[in-house]
Amino acid sequence: MSAQSKDKGGLNHDSARSHVSGRSIYIDDMPWQKNELVVDYFGSPVAHGKIKSLDLSLAKAVPGVVALYTAADLHHNKFGPILQDEVLLAEEQTEFIGQPIVVIAAESYESIKQAKKLIKLDIEELQPLLNVDDAIAAGAFIDREYVIERGDVAQAFSVAEHILEGRLVMGGADHFYLESQSCLVYPGENKQLVVHSSTQAPTEVQHVVAHLLGLNMNQVVVIVKRMGGGFGGKECQATHPAVMAALVALRTGRPARLVMNKDDDMMYTGKRHPFQNDYKVAFDGEGRILALEARLYADGGAYNDLSTAVLGRALTHIDNAYYLPNVSVKGRIAKTNFPPNTAFRGFGGPQGVLTIECIMEEIAAYLKVDPFKVRRVNCYGIEERNTTHYGQLLENNSLPELFDRLAQSSDYEKRLAAVQEFNRNSKTHLKGLSLTAVKFGISFTNKFLNQANALVNIYLDGSVQVSTGATEMGQGVNTNIKAIVADEFAIDYERVIVMATSTEKNNNTSATAASSATDLNGSAAQLACRAIKGRMQQVAADYFATQEVGIGAYPERIRFQDGMVFDERKPHLKLSFDDLVGHCYRSRVSLGERGHYATPSISFDWSKGKGTPFLYYTNGTAVSEVTIDRFTGALKLDRVDILMDIGKSINEGLNRGQIAGAFFQGMGWLTMEELRYSTKGALLSHSPTTYKIPGIFDLPEHFKIDLLDRENKVNVRGSKAVGEPPLLLGISVWTAVKHALSFLSGENIPVLNSPASGEEILQRLTHYLEGAEGGLPSSDSAWGVGGSVLLRGRSTSRVKSKVSEARR
């Protein structure tokens, strides 16, 4: 069927050959136009400030500087995907370090550098809010409180056998897409702009550019060929550079390019939300949870961006794989003076799930039982205990099977015994083992986003172009769509090209996000193909019927197979697909179609905290084993086994790549990746020299991925979305560290924040190994570990605030 190899579980990536030969084109690879301008911006030097005066005269005089723009040059300055609370260019106040104030256009980067130095800004420094506690104390919040509740929490706590409470502080993470935020804008006639953007959200970019520049959306075409990685970071945050370059192009009439350097990108764009979660959990002697009360604080940064939706997903995912009979979870977004935190693969889900997996580990440590048993006893059931805390029924629940099969295939019990034995004997190292799960809801929680359109055009020679709103950031959505379209027509994959995403071809598209790009856009493309195919079948039926072979025109019996078309009653009479296309054209039958797909049966009501927001769930389990150096806190990941239910793969090879990559990103977030800030709120770890994402040696020797082969009937080709869910399996590495610490913590619950860096681990080891003696000097130090508070029965894991550390 295809000339390309399929033996590795599907078609190779659409762009693989151009990637490996360096011929794939990214924004900054596009040829320079002769009068092109480079664009950059001058931003706030302080995290929170009041602009007193701004003098651009010296900067304007720098040779090569063509234009300087401020908020006054914008038609509108306010925007935002959920709340319109963000300004593109600060006018009176600045809310984070690097917040843009002046857009600079020049003929060279050196001129921009000079101009930046000569901009005279008089700014009064105001007290910034640099952590969640300070924001809470100041009452600084974005948006309202969101709540999900079920059952009678108070009653459950009042009769519970055991209660634990604690606080979990987790840091953010930089997306570290390799290609920084980039945009290139070509001006056209009549205020029309062509915007080449490295974005996951072309329509969002189109909308914001048009809105802020006072254009109609139909004057702005946004094109996305590909991104050098996105991971959520190019959903909303790609709009800022796009507007700036578009402003320059519109006003000067010259092409304008803005490509951020890595340091600026890391310092000035939003990240994964740090969270600070307080929880209280009631459970029985077997570890079965009776009630959960949790209060989540997301560090939103200076503006809302997508924080509302991120918080929402944290609240809907705090159950993870576990049935919670009585629940009260409340969440708020703290407003701090950092760049607005934004979408990042998992989108709040990981911050919710880490909390419950942390709780599972603590219950087990408290009861001194195998954490797996606690998880298993709490796992959602098939026939009962199978509705989520927001009321959605779990259909086709594969979680129990995933738990049991992985425990068996990974030899969990034997290895747990070996870990216990090791920890009894080793004077130098400590081991931990943990098996965690993920249940990730698929669909945007905002219902209207769950739609997509696709345009399929067949040309006279039988070759096919398909355009959708999905953007390619490496995940392989184009390869999936190519396969869907080629398979619908039963033609060679080479006959189909998936075009660059363009708002000219596909209007009002949803961002490539929420793992849903193939689900939505693939479904739309399939609908378009089927509509064309229906017309082609009619033409073919007429064609075969007129061959005097004794069969009437019967479109439903026309088959497409291996590039040929035939009536199943006379299969030896064949017409090639290409010839049929010619017939259709000459018969004046349309060979193009636009498909539109809207996800059925989903809804959610935040005023009640109830609904069925997800079409289905993607599930999985993972077990990780770690070794810790008792003297340095150094962490080594020894072995990982993953088992996932991702339905029938459209392309298994690509899906395995998504699983491995996502797992690693989750692991990085929870272990070595640490955003360290100055006391003034400046990011100090703003390049790979100081911000460490996992490297090749962090891949353990044993890294195994297995898949359940199970059709997901409600989605295109029986598949399931896979982009985000495996990121949450990286949590098993963090819980394995917590598990290791439980061997030292004695009667205490092992406390661990995230990231579990060498320093964090060593701090905990010191505390447990040396007790009071290990508590090092200085009370404001990161090393001041809080004491235990006896709540009921035995000790609990309440810790003092550690916020200052998370943002230090």
Binding site: H19, D29, G474, T632, M672, L699, F703, G758, E759
Partner: protein
Amino acid sequence: MSRANLVFYINGKKHEVGGQAAFQPLTDYLRYGQSLCGTKVVCAEGDCGACTVLVGRARTVGAPGFSYVPVNGCIQYLYQLDGCHILTVEGVTGCQSDDAAACRLNPAQEAMVVENGSQCGFCTPGFIMSLSALAYCDYYKDYIGKDSLAEDSLANQTDSLKSALTGNLCRCTGYEAIVQAAVSARYEQFQALSQVYDEQAILKDLEPLLSVDVSVQWQDPGQSGPVKSGPAKSEPDQAATTPLSQRQVFIPSSVASLCSYLAENPDAVLVSGGTDVSVNMNKREFKPLKLVSTARLGLDQLKQLDKDELEKSGLVKLGLGKLGSGILKVGASVSLAQLEDYMKEACSEFYKILWVFGSPQIRHAGTLAGNIANGSPIADSVPFLMLAQASIEATSAQGTRLVPMSEFYLGYKKLALKPGEFISAVYIPMPVAQEKIKLYKVSRREHLDISSFTAAFALQIESGLIKQIRVVMGGMAATVMRLGEVENFLIGKPFKLETFKQAGKLAASSLAPLTDVRGSREYRLKLAENIFSKLYHEIEEESLVKK
């Protein structure tokens, strides 16, 4: 005799560059000057590998030809590359025809396609270059079995292959597919470079040019400089009156040239591998007026001194001549990768440190002399050198002298070099058999990371007592330092955990490290304390194994 233009080849094509164009990173020249956009730039500081290229210099031993090494193109400035043949991803793609469609992929590229080793693609050209290095670099000649990797040796080779790829970051794949590609690539099927490029003709063309010094002035009209097809990324035209326009770079072809140049220009900045200097240029607006590239000095001696050489060296006078198993001379041009290779047999502890030093790209560009001269308190090579009581050979027009490592650092990044002096070699007394060497590096990530803390120990134990011990720590003060007080405390004490615990407490109480992005003061103090217990346990364990 001298030249005013740089001459180098890229993918078989000759380039001559002079004037200000010589003062730009290779990646800018490739991407914005030559439209060779396959080479990507992400971090511009040598920490991600997206810009990896192969740089070939004429072999000094063995068959005439080029010896290629993988380096980070973003921190290789053009003036470092005079006389080189540079290969980019466009140049290893199994064809050199201008007809892109006619190209077939090389075996590493093919493997990366088949194994799905590439997702977003931005890191991919860098990985392709690191994989191609396995086929094209002398350094990797015996590195892996080239006839498809045999199953039984796979585990061993996987580590070697990972090591070759340590300098390349990928955010999409989790590396699993890339390792698969590295394992399955048919390295023996790479087309020999000599079949692709007329290397002999290139060598012949370059040979006469390499015997002369090069002196490039910013104001020189650049011959065949980069065709600026777009706004210059790094260096635009400067008004002739600014001091920057006085910038110059000198590339001596001999030590004598360098000595006389430095005698007149003692303020010149020496660039060896450039792995630190170029980062400062890219990121910290470091723009020295006078630059000297030592790339063509050929101070590439890496050998144990024999008796005569030892006599001549002056080391005997320093009291180092008699030491145990010989003295190793490391010329200033010796790369960290060459040293790593040597230490594999000669000193496994130092090898372990060199193995996790930066990345292959950094180790192939960077030199031991450069690491010493940079003077960082967290330099990875310095604790060992301090421990081994190495000596620095400083050379100037006045001749050479030796400076013991212990006297080389006067303060934070302050060296005991006199004006006009440069490091020409390092002499390392190799550890003796009865001495136990232990080196430690703690960093956020084991590989490709800068240390938060380093420690080095040399000790002799006799009948249960600590007979001799030297202790060195880095990351705890403005320089790497010996801990004399702790040494004195330990000497003569019984080899027991309690002894080392006390030593750890003593060390911690005598140090005052800073809090920075790599770790807090408390963290470093705890490491300084704990490392003694770690040392004790490791030595105890090893002696148990030996028994």
